[in-house]
Every structure is written in C-alpha cells, then in structure tokens.
C-alpha cells in the first residue's frame, strides 16, 4: 500500500490494518470487525460503483497504518491474566493467556535503539563541538529520536517490517561504530573510546537478541498473536 494513502479495497485495507494493530490478540478480531462494519456501512451509503465506494470509504477512515497505531496507543495496556483451560480431547490442563498480553510494544523498542545511538552521538558531538556543546542538547536529540521512532514510526509498521527496521538500524549503528573506531585508531578523531567500543559490542548483542526475541514465539519479546504459553500439569 503506497504512501500517501489514496484509499484501497476493503479486504486489502483490513489485512494491513490487522497486521499493524498492536492490541492483545483476543481484541484484534473485535476491533477489525468494528472497522469492517464501519467500512461496509460507509460503502453502502456512497453512491456509485462498489469498487470506487470502497476506495472512498477507506480514504475517509484514513491510512490503515495510522488508524492501527492510534487505536493501539488508545488501548495500550498490559494484561497479565491467566486462566485454566481444560482441553477435553487431549485430557490435560493447559495454561493459556487469553488475548496475548503484549509485554513489549513495538514503540518500546525505540529505547533499545537509543542507547548505542546516544553513545555515538555523544562521541561525535564531542569531536565536533568540544566543550561548546549546548547543555542537554544530546539528551533532547535522543528524546526526539525516541519520540519520533517509538511513537510515530514503529507503531505504524507490521511486525515483519519492524524486525527489518530494527535489524537494519542495528547494522547502521555497528557500521558507524566501526568507522568511528577505525578513525580513532588512525588518530584522525579523538575522544573517549568507550563511546564507540560499547555500541560496537552492544549492537551485535542487541541485534541478535532482537532477532531471536522477535522471531521466537516463546520469547518475552514476541510480537503478534501468541496463544499457548505453557503446557503444565499433564497427567501421567
């Protein structure tokens, strides 16, 4: 789906909307059904061919990425509810988290990106400005990155896009840290080496952790539908 949004057929709209929607899994279906009902009623109210009416109805509702992000922010909550479910055919008790309590929101991952970035920015700010750096300027810059990335960019992406963006960002940070380290050893730039060495080490660790965490269904970082978390008390 292209940007800016110019409307789309309802199935295409709902597919992207549900993929971007970051609410507990048992709420996804309800929210999508509500939006579907809205789009169908709006489509019926618009005169003309059905295809054009669908495009107009979706256009009035706005981009599915944007709508999903805004509803996700509105419903942001973490539920730690466990219920006991008896599964008759298998005859064992399993613990299930109904509705996938979202433990790590995509927007929270912006903090992980900010740490190595903060160090590299601090190093290069020191190289560029020395002691003339305005007070709290780096803190403001990082806060802006967290706000923009965490609030505006990541929540509008699908889980697979989020993974790609996070891993890509880690790659860029590692590359920048490596270049900085090379320049430091070549005595071209001077500064505290920990500010580039730490991101160089932290980047791969975080990248690997994110890669594992975002793809492994049992990870606490997992994003997306996650039904069964534990099989316990299976009778002998």
């Amino acid at each position: 789906m292209r940007w800016p949004f110019h409307g789309s057929p309802i199935p295409e709209y709902l597919a992207l909307f549900s993929e971007c929607l970051e609410v507990p899994a048992d709420e996804v279906q309800g929210v999508v059904a509500e939006v579907r009902t809205h789009l169908e009623e709006a489509t019926e109210a618009i005169a003309g061919p059905r295809k054009d009416a669908e495009v107009q109805a979706t256009l009035a509702l706005g981009s599915p990425r944007d709508l999903a992000a805004r509803i996700g922010i509105a419903r942001r909550h973490r539920r730690q509810v466990r219920v006991l479910v008896i599964d008759p055919p298998l005859q064992y008790v399993k613990y299930e988290v109904p509705g996938d309590p979202i433990r790590v929101h995509r927007r929270d991952l912006a903090w992980g990106l900010a740490v190595p970035e903060l160090m590299l920015v601090t190093f290069w700010a020191g190289v560029a400005f020395g002691n003339d750096l305005p007070t709290y300027s780096i803190a403001w810059a990082i806060a802006a990155v967290i706000l923009v990335v965490g609030r505006w960019i990541l929540p509008r992406l699908t889980p697979s896009e989020t993974t790609r963006v996070l891993l890509g960002s880690m790659g860029v940070i590692i590359a920048c840290a490596a270049v900085t380290g090379t320049l430091y050893f070549g005595r071209i730039v001077h500064g505290d080496p920990i500010l580039w060495a730490a991101p160089l080490c932290y980047g791969p660790v975080l990248g690997t952790a994110l890669y594992y965490g975002l793809l492994n269904a049992n990870s606490p970082l997992v994003i997306g539908p996650r039904k069964l978390i534990d099989k316990a008390d299976v009778p002998e």
Partner: protein, 87 residues
Amino acid sequence: MYGYQMGVELSRRSGGRLTASEGSLYPTLHQMEAQGLIAGFWQTPTGGRARRYYRLTPRGRTVTRTASADLRRFASTLLTLVPEGSR
C-alpha cells in the same frame, strides 16, 4: 449508538455544520473505553449486521455532566462579550 451512527448523527443534528473525522472517531472511542467512560458491546439487530454499540458508564455520565456544564458556562461567558445588537 455505534461508531458510524455517531458520525452520521453528529452531522445530522448540527445541520451539516459539524462532521466527525472518521479517522479520529475510533481511536477516541477506544481511548474513552480504556478510561472507563464508555462501554462497548456487540449487538445484532434483527435482520441487520452485528455492530459494536457504545453506552456511557456511570463514570462517563458524571464526566459528561461536568463537561456539559463547563461548556455551557464557557459559551454563556463568550456571549456576554458579544454586543447585544449583534447577537
């Protein structure tokens, strides 16, 4: 009332002067629900499609009353600033 109906009603009751931005309607409704001001529930009217209706919770009713009183006070204060003949 359900979401789509709210937008239509707002436009109808205001004689078309006010229109709800559809993109803001659902985030607002979900935010109000998360705050406990409204409660959503599914209902299927006979011969109709299933829709998610919203009703005010007791807390929402209290907040609405307070907000309405504030709005009336604000509007009457503004009106006192408008010269008598031009009202």
